[in-house]
């Protein structure tokens, strides 16, 4: 394992892969249960989301934007909620995915 901490591009590349994995999870759940926002998501899908949010936080720390503080607070709020509840509805999961997408285009 040799992760050269070099630039925000390195983090972005890594983050994009993880966000795509979250998208795949959403598509799989929707395929199985339809567009039912109340379906509960837990276990490894939650761990994936938590890890992706922490990568997003890392990426945010490397950005030079006046929106960093706002998005940092949003990410930390999601992480705190996940740590408390450990289960999300599909709607909440999609909401977190949308937040990740917004961070990628900052």
């Amino acid at each position: 394992m040799n992760f050269l901490f070099s630039s925000k591009d390195e983090f972005k590349k890594n983050l994009i892969e993880r966000v795509n994995k979250i998208k795949d999870t959403i598509e799989k759940v929707e395929k199985k249960y339809g567009n039912n926002g109340k379906v509960l998501i837990k276990d490894s899908a939650i761990i994936d989301l938590k890890e992706t949010l922490i990568w997003a936080l890392s990426y945010l720390a490397m950005l030079n934007s006046d929106k960093v503080k706002e998005y940092k607070d949003k990410v930390i709020e999601k992480l705190a909620y996940i740590r408390e509840n450990r289960i999300l509805t599909l709607d909440q999961y999609k909401d977190a995915y949308n937040l990740l997408q917004q961070i990628l285009i900052l």
Binding site: N2, L4, S7, E51, I54, S58, A61, M62, R83, E84
Partner: protein
């Protein structure tokens, strides 16, 4: 008498080594932050392993910062480097001295550390092409 001297600029290598060391430990910290398990965010977060890794990451960041002295930089940047050094030391002290740190506090320290290191990476401009080889003293 041997008049052939070997010389090498090793600073870029040193910087890269610290970058790799820092990157590797950051991956480990992300893993710990992901899998750490505690029911509330207000109670003290007693995860010595995470704190140790954060301290190690700060040490790598200090090494990275020190390696920037091998690069040419303006007086202002030199002052910034010294300020960065003090703020990294303050982060380190906070982990060591504050026994009441919560998970969210550690997330905050982690965020601040990444912010500082991403700035440190821009300090100084590389010297002319690193050179290796020998030359003859006449």
């Amino acid at each position: 008498m041997d008049t052939n001297l070997q010389y090498t600029y090793s600073i870029p290598d040193l910087k890269t080594r610290f970058q790799i060391g820092f990157g590797n430990i950051i991956e480990q910290i992300i893993e710990l932050l992901t899998y750490s398990d505690i029911s509330t965010d207000t109670e003290t977060f007693d995860n010595e392993e995470l704190k140790n890794k954060l301290r190690a990451a700060i040490s790598y960041a200090l090494g990275l910062l020190a390696s920037t002295w091998g690069y040419s930089m303006s007086e202002k940047t030199q002052r910034d480097v010294l300020i960065a050094k003090e703020s990294l030391k303050a982060l380190f002290d906070r982990i060591v001295k504050d026994p009441e740190l919560t998970y969210l506090d550690l997330l905050d320290i982690y965020f601040e550390l990444i912010q500082k290191v991403s700035i440190i990476l821009n300090y100084g401009t590389p010297m002319p092409q690193p050179r290796t080889g020998s030359y003859e003293i006449t």
